[in-house]
Every structure is written in structure tokens, then in C-alpha cells.
């Protein structure tokens, strides 16, 4: 059975802004599905629709075989939602927030403690602290506990790790992996490309449309360019020089390296490129062909779509 089936969903704001355009995808039960896209792509609009907070203009959505609109009350019982902005009560304590959500869902904290224990253990020492006084990582852990306390079958997480440091992000994803072993389906959006590779499948979304849905491995396999990496003593000067490069290519900084994807016959193009760098007096390290990462794929797909 599909946990979620979204068919041709569209949404227009103020008659002018097309936030979503014929969005269609399905998520299998128990899947960890990632929604990856730039700001303003429509990710949060989609989350608001899927969590029954906003009506789509058209399209059909089924959650665990229930109609999202007709059965919205029943749907709310089986979903958990972690919104993109911190939405707990800042002036209630950690424990009071959890109690509040448990009461609202008529759920028993003790009965569901096994599900949240690994997370709860980390915030329990602060259970009397006001939620508004927690650090960013702690807030997210508390919000996740509150979203899970009624043991939902589908969990919606809208950018749960934005602004969270690398160590806490890693912990958060370990928690997500543990949650799915409990049979909970997860739909998560993220601006971090390294997190996209941790999903079973991902959908790339831009300007309200889905550009592609596949496993991270398959998306990386479909990279169209020939990708190379190299180092430069002065990356800013290099990037400026590359603006004049006559070859069909797409270049960008990537950590300490420069990545460049060519859309050329490389046997001819590489000597031309080396000559170009020399003419521009650009000192560089060895130029090595590499396999693209999800971030490379995302950049390629978005650039191709903005040109077409």
C-alpha cells in the first residue's frame, strides 16, 4: 500500500503566484522520502496541504487510502508534523509541551515512550526549562518528540535541520533512521544535499514543479556533464577568469575545490581548457575527473531548467 499518493496537485496564491503545478508522486509505506529544492520552490506549501492546513486548488491526495480533504479529521490522527519554524510554546517547559501534545491527541506518554525514548533521554535533563530557552538542536528534538507522541503512521518534517550544526544534524538523522525501523513513513525536506543521499528516494522540486523523482544513486548516475575537480591558489580570481571560458561548461566552488562540468567532447575540450587557464595565468592543481554528488546533480538540473 502507498502511504501517500499525490495526483496533479496545484495551488495558486492571490490568483497570480503558482506555488504548485501538477505535483504527482507516491510514497510507499515505511519509506524515507526526501523533498529537495530551493527556497520558494513550493516545499512548505506542499507540506501545509499534506498536513490538512491548506486546501489545494485541484488534484487528489490519499493518505493511507483516506481522502485527505473528505477525511481530514481522521488523517490528522495518523500524521505527525514538524513545521519549518519552531512552533512549540516557548513559555511552557519542555515537559509541559510534551504533556500538552499528548493530551491534545488523547495519547499516553508512557505507552509511547519506547518510540521517543532515545530522543527524550537527551532532553530530559532540561525538562523544567522553558522551551524558548533551549538551544536550536534541543528545540528540534523536543519538537520531534511532540510530533511523535501520538505514534503517527506518517511523519512530515519541513527542513528539520536548517540552522543546526553538523554534529546535531548527524544525531538527528540517526534518530530518523531509528524512527523508520518502527514502520513510520517519513517525508522530509532539506536544503542540505548530503542529507538527500540518506533518503530512500528523493524528489527535486523547483518553481512548484517536480523535476525528477528517483533514488539518490539513480539521480547521480544521470548526470549529463563530464565533471572535473581541481584546486586553485585563488579561487575568486579563478571564478572570475572562468566567465570568459569559451567552452560549454558550468563551474562553481565546492569546498576547497572548483568543480567544472563540461558539455563537450572531452578529448578536444580538455586541451582547450588547459590552454585557456594558461592564457588567463591561472595556477591550478591537477584536474581530475570525478563522480558527481547530489549537490552537483542539483546544480546541473536547476541550471538546465532555468535555461530551457
Amino acid at each position: 500500500m502507498n502511504a501517500l499518493s499525490v495526483q496533479k496537485v496545484s495551488k495558486v496564491y492571490n490568483k497570480t503566484v503558482q506555488a504548485l503545478r501538477d505535483i504527482t508522486f507516491e510514497i510507499r509505506e515505511g519509506e524515507l522520502f526526501g523533498l529537495v529544492g530551493p527556497d520558494g520552490a513550493g516545499k512548505s506549501t506542499l507540506f501545509n496541504i499534506l498536513t490538512t492546513l491548506l486546501l489545494p486548488d485541484s488534484g487528489d491526495i490519499k493518505i493511507l487510502d483516506m481522502d485527505l480533504i473528505a477525511d481530514y479529521k481522521a488523517v490528522r490522527q495518523v500524521i505527525g508534523y514538524l513545521p519549518g519554524t519552531f512552533s512549540l510554546y516557548p513559555d511552557l517547559s519542555v515537559k509541559e509541551n510534551l504533556d500538552f501534545f499528548a493530551v491534545m491527541y488523547k495519547s499516553d506518554i508512557e505507552a509511547n515512550m519506547d518510540l521517543i525514548r532515545p530522543i527524550w533521554r537527551q532532553i530530559e535533563p532540561f525538562s523544567k526549562r522553558k522551551a524558548g530557552k533551549l538551544s536550536g538542536g534541543m528545540k528540534q528534538k523536543l519538537a520531534l518528540c511532540c510530533a511523535l507522541i501520538h505514534r503517527p503512521r506518517i511523519l512530515f518534517l519541513d527542513e528539520p535541520t536548517t540552522g543546526v550544526d553538523p554534529v546535531s544534524r548527524k544525531e538527528f538523522w540517526e534518530i530518523l533512521q531509528a524512527i523508520r525501523t518502527q514502520g513510520i513513513t517519513v517525508l522530509v525536506s532539506t536544503p542540505y544535499m548530503d542529507e538527500a543521499t540518506l533518503c530512500d528516494r528523493i524528489a527535486l522540486i523547483q518553481n512548484g514543479s517536480i523535476l525528477g523523482i528517483d533514488t539518490p544513486e539513480a539521480i547521480m548516475k544521470h548526470f549529463r556533464g563530464s565533471l572535473y575537480t581541481f584546486r586553485s591558489a585563488d579561487i575568486f580570481s579563478l571564478l572570475n577568469a572562468l566567465k570568459q571560458c569559451p567552452l560549454q561548461c558550468n563551474y562553481y566552488p565546492y569546498g576547497e575545490h572548483c568543480h567544472i562540468a563540461f558539455y563537450e567532447d572531452m578529448e578536444k575540450a580538455m586541451p582547450q581548457f588547459l590552454q585557456f587557464l594558461e592564457e588567463q595565468h591561472q595556477e591550478h592543481g591537477e584536474i581530475t575527473a570525478i563522480q558527481p554528488s547530489i549537490e552537483d546533480c542539483f546544480i546541473e538540473i536547476v541550471k538546465m531548467n532555468s535555461h530551457e
Binding site: D39, G163, D165, P166, R169, F236, P253, E295
Partner: protein, 239 residues
């Protein structure tokens, strides 16, 4: 010459030491990455350096002024882009820049010219009269940065400027940082994207109020014996 000189800077909130005797210098025109876990004390340290918060002890000289005795002069000579709040959603792009420019007492005619030049450089001239809430986050962040440097400060503090921004816009934003630094402006920036840490001239890593590591990205990787700044970070913040 140093733009920032921090010497045993400390901030205590009651029993809690948020920033514990940190010391470092940032050179003019340098891009300095100020890294650390959530709650490590980065924002508190930035608030002290920008004259918004008085230190408990220690000193900091920023743009040639003392944070303890000359906070007003510091505020006039720095730009600050805060983590969350940076622009007014219900003002237009132009009005936001006009407001901040006026606060910094930029003469009216000069201000208009600077705003138009700045918007042209961002390729946002057409958006001048749009309300800020209607433009995408990536544009807002670029606009907030342009607004923070409108009064031509010597130093800009950027607190997580690219949080939640997509890979392409993040790179455009860093291009702006590089361009600005190349004109001699000093940049102190915090980020949770470890690839961005590699773009900095030097970085420091804070944990529990202390600076644990400081050096060029290359030096830190060698020192810890790993290949990426992400690994350096995980290694040092975990313990």
C-alpha cells in the same frame, strides 16, 4: 593591520559562562569563519564584538574602537546581518534600504545613488518596489547583506547568512562576500555548512564557550589528520 583584536573576552550569565576568555585577531580584508555548535557562544561573542552586549571581562578592539568604552563608534563602523531578523517584510526592497541608510545618516541624494547601484549589482533593480515578504529567501539574504554594507562599514558580521538557502544561491552569496572582502572590508561569518568554511581565509571552532581550534582550513585539517573541515568539526565538537 588588525580589524578585530579580541583579548580574553568573557561573558557570564549568572553561573553560566557563555564565552570563556576567547582571544584572536582578524586582519583587514580577511574572511574569518567563526564556527561552532549550536549554543557554543558564537552569537554572544558576536554581540559583544558589535557593541550590543557588554563583556563581563576581557577586551575587544573592533575597527579601532574599544567595545567597552566606545560601543556607539563601533556600531557606526560595522555592518551586522543577524541570524533571523534582518529586513522588514512589510516594507519594499527600496524602503528597507532607505530606512537603514537613513539610520546611518547617509545624505539623501548619496543614499539614493548607493541604493540604485547596490540593486543594480544584485540584478534586483526591477524588484525595488516589491514588498520584501514576496521575494524568495535567497534574494532576501542577498538584499540583507547589501543593506548591511550600505554605509560602507570596515567590518561586517554575518550570523548564519546562508541558513536554509539552496546550493546555487549559497554560492552567489559567497561571491558577494568575496567581492566585498576584495575591497578591503573585513568579514566575520558563521555557518553550519562546512564546505563554506573552506572558503574562509581562517576559521575558528568554538565549543562550550571556548575557541578550540584556530587556523587556515588547510592547517586545521593537517593538525587533526582528516580530509575535510566537516571531519575536523565533528572530531572537536563531539568531545
Amino acid at each position: 593591520m588588525n580589524s578585530i583584536e579580541v583579548d580574553h573576552l568573557t561573558k557570564k550569565f549568572g553561573d553560566f559562562t557563555a564565552v570563556n576568555e576567547i582571544s584572536f585577531q582578524v586582519k583587514e580584508g580577511e574572511i574569518f569563519g567563526f564556527l561552532g555548535a549550536n549554543g557554543a557562544g558564537k552569537t554572544t561573542a558576536i554581540k559583544m564584538m558589535s557593541g550590543l552586549l557588554q563583556p563581563t571581562s576581557g577586551t575587544a578592539i573592533v575597527a579601532g574602537y574599544d567595545v567597552v568604552t566606545q560601543p556607539k563608534l563601533i556600531k557606526r563602523n560595522i555592518g551586522y546581518m543577524s541570524q533571523r531578523f534582518s529586513l522588514y517584510n512589510d516594507l519594499t526592497v527600496f524602503e528597507n534600504m532607505q530606512l537603514f541608510g537613513t539610520i546611518y545618516k547617509i545624505p539623501r541624494k548619496e543614499l539614493k545613488k548607493r541604493i540604485m547601484d547596490s540593486l543594480a549589482a544584485l540584478d534586483m533593480t526591477k524588484q525595488a518596489n516589491l514588498l520584501v515578504h514576496s521575494i524568495p529567501l535567497g534574494w532576501k539574504q542577498k538584499l540583507a547583506f547589501a543593506t548591511a554594507i550600505l554605509h560602507k562599514p570596515k567590518i561586517v558580521f554575518l550570523d548564519e547568512p546562508t541558513s536554509g538557502v539552496d546550493p546555487i544561491v549559497r554560492r552567489e552569496f559567497w561571491n558577494l562576500i568575496y567581492e566585498t572582502a576584495s575591497t578591503g572590508v573585513t568579514i566575520l561569518v558563521t555557518t553550519h555548512y562546512m564546505d563554506e568554511a573552506e572558503y574562509c581565509h581562517r576559521i575558528s571552532i568554538m565549543a562550550d564557550g571556548n575557541i578550540r581550534l584556530l587556523g587556515t582550513p588547510e592547517e586545521l585539517k593537517q593538525q587533526v589528520g582528516v580530509n575535510t573541515i566537516n571531519d575536523v568539526f565533528v572530531e572537536y565538537v563531539k568531545h
